[in-house]
């Protein structure tokens, strides 16, 4: 048993530092995906909320495709397809590194799921809110930032934190295209030590810790977003 824990030590003997690097890559991948995913999600939500038929159709099509495709397939299509697409369009041969491919693929998926959450949140803020802000003389931008966004954000948070948790777990799929994330580093440790059960269990516990940490942060953000509502006596 002590031998097993010695395998987790940091330094040239143990795998502790290698796993820690894997955790760092996993977290970096998830965090790097977030802005792209949220931007896509907001864009698609606005498309689906638009008056025009074509815009709504495009929004729905995007959601159907990237919510329906298996995440693993999306990752493979981006990793193998994007260089071909770029070569076909520009004639240049490029190699796309697996981190970038992972961010793009997971961002496309995150965009599809978060667009549903954001659309519901946009619709949850009554029109009267922005109208009364306008009546009080607030410029549109300020009205959005001070009046509409805090209410929208509060409704969207639980759904977004769910989507984030899914994203965090989906990052493990990028190990399939050789990104040195937690799952891949664990594979390497297993190959060298022949202790698959122990190392995959450790990896699972590390993912669990990341999920737990995310949930705690989400709770804190939700409590903050609820500040103005707590007094309304629910």
């Amino acid at each position: 048993m002590t031998d097993l824990f010695a395998l987790l030590s940091f330094g040239s003997e143990g795998w502790g530092d290698d796993l820690a690097r894997g955790v760092a890559v996993t977290v970096a991948l998830a965090i790097a995906t977030l802005p792209l995913g949220l931007a896509l999600g907001l864009g698609v939500a606005l498309l689906k909320n638009a008056k025009g038929r074509v815009a709504r159709g495009l929004g729905e099509l995007y959601t159907t495709v990237f919510r329906g495709l298996p995440e693993l397939l999306t990752i493979l299509i981006v990793a193998f397809g994007a260089p071909r697409l770029i070569a076909a369009l520009t004639g240049a041969t490029v190699e796309i590194n697996s981190f970038v491919a992972g961010v793009v693929a997971l961002g496309l998926v995150f965009g599809a799921f978060s667009s549903e959450v954001l659309l519901a949140a946009i619709r949850a803020v009554p029109k009267g809110q922005s109208e009364s802000a306008a009546a009080l003389g607030l410029p549109r931008r300020l009205a959005f930032r001070l009046v509409v966004f805090p209410q929208l954000w509060r409704v969207a948070l639980p759904g977004l934190s769910n989507t984030w948790l899914v994203l965090l777990k989906d990052t493990s799929l990028v190990s399939v295209i050789a990104l040195a994330d937690l799952t891949r580093q664990t594979n390497l440790a297993v190959n060298a030590t022949k202790q698959p059960f122990f190392f995959y269990l450790v990896a699972c516990l590390l993912y669990l810790a990341l999920s737990g940490l995310s949930t705690a942060i989400a709770r804190w953000l939700e409590a903050r977003a609820d500040r103005g509502f707590a007094a309304a006596g629910r």
Binding site: T64, V65, G68, L69, P70, E71, L72, L73, L76, I77, F80, G81, R84, K169, D170, T171, S172, L173, S175, V176, T183, T186, N187, V190, Q195, P196, F197, Y200, L201, A203, C204, Y207, L208, S211, G212
Partner: protein, 247 residues
């Protein structure tokens, strides 16, 4: 007859701008993969549902220790990536070869298909268990009180009063879970199972033709959309007594 039909399909396929020759060579494998995918999902979702029923009820009704154990199971399988779970079972089992041999289960754990089915089943049981727990909790207390007043025993109450209402409540999320499982089943391809994605990866490694990934995308999209729509119809029909009657 079949040959003629196959030929006609290939002609249409070619007319759509796809590579008919590629299809003729690798298509049958991908179709076999489709059956593997459907089998994986059908077995793990069904067995997972049967496990989820007692799990969901235990999460509500169980004593402190039962609840803690069920919660630990559910947290582990919902909080970690399915891929890591598959690795844990598929590669981890090898370490317990002697013990598994002794109880005659090594044959099961040596086979990637079985390892994947076992992992998927436990994983979906955890998610479905949460759905059932939510359904059970949504049933008004007066329902079980009324059943008790009518002289029903607790087991009877659950079978005839609580669970049917809990399941009606959980039908929509259960459909979502089915769709998620169809997508997640593609992870089986990572441990040498030839499901749709597994067969596609094989075809790609032989032909280097990217088109095969687009076939796979089309297959999954059609599969997921069909299941989603059919499930919605079923759900509407099964819960039609809950909607206000249209005038």
């Amino acid at each position: 007859m079949e040959a003629a039909l196959g030929h006609a399909l290939l002609t249409i396929w070619g007319a759509l701008g796809f590579d008919a020759e590629l299809m003729a060579r690798y298509g049958p494998r991908v179709v076999d993969g489709l059956w593997t995918t459907l089998g994986l999902v059908a077995v793990s979702c069904t067995v997972g549902f049967l496990l989820a029923l007692p799990l969901g009820v235990a999460l509500v009704e169980g004593g402190r220790i039962t609840r803690a154990l069920c919660l630990a199971f559910s947290t582990f399988f919902r909080g970690t990536p399915l891929l890591a779970q598959v690795f844990l079972v598929y590669y981890g089992a090898g370490q317990f070869r002697d013990a598994l041999d002794a109880v005659g289960l090594w044959g099961v754990f040596r086979d990637a298909w079985w390892c994947v089915v076992i992992t998927f089943t436990l994983n979906t049981a955890a998610y479905q268990g949460e759905i059932i727990r939510g359904g059970v909790r949504s049933v008004a207390r007066g329902q079980s009180e009324a059943a008790a007043a009518l002289g029903l025993r607790r087991g009877q109450t659950y079978l005839t009063v609580t669970l049917p209402q809990a399941l009606a409540q959980g039908l929509r999320p259960l459909g979502n879970e089915l769709v998620l499982m169809i997508k997640a089943s593609s992870i089986a391809s990572v441990v040498t199972v030839y499901d749709v994605l597994g067969a596609t990866k094989y075809a790609f490694s032989r032909s280097y033709d990217f088109e095969v990934y687009l076939w796979a995308a089309l297959i999954y999209l059609v599969l997921v959309e069909t299941v989603r729509r059919v499930w919605n119809l079923l759900e509407r029909r099964a819960t039609r007594h809950l909607r206000p009657r249209e005038a």
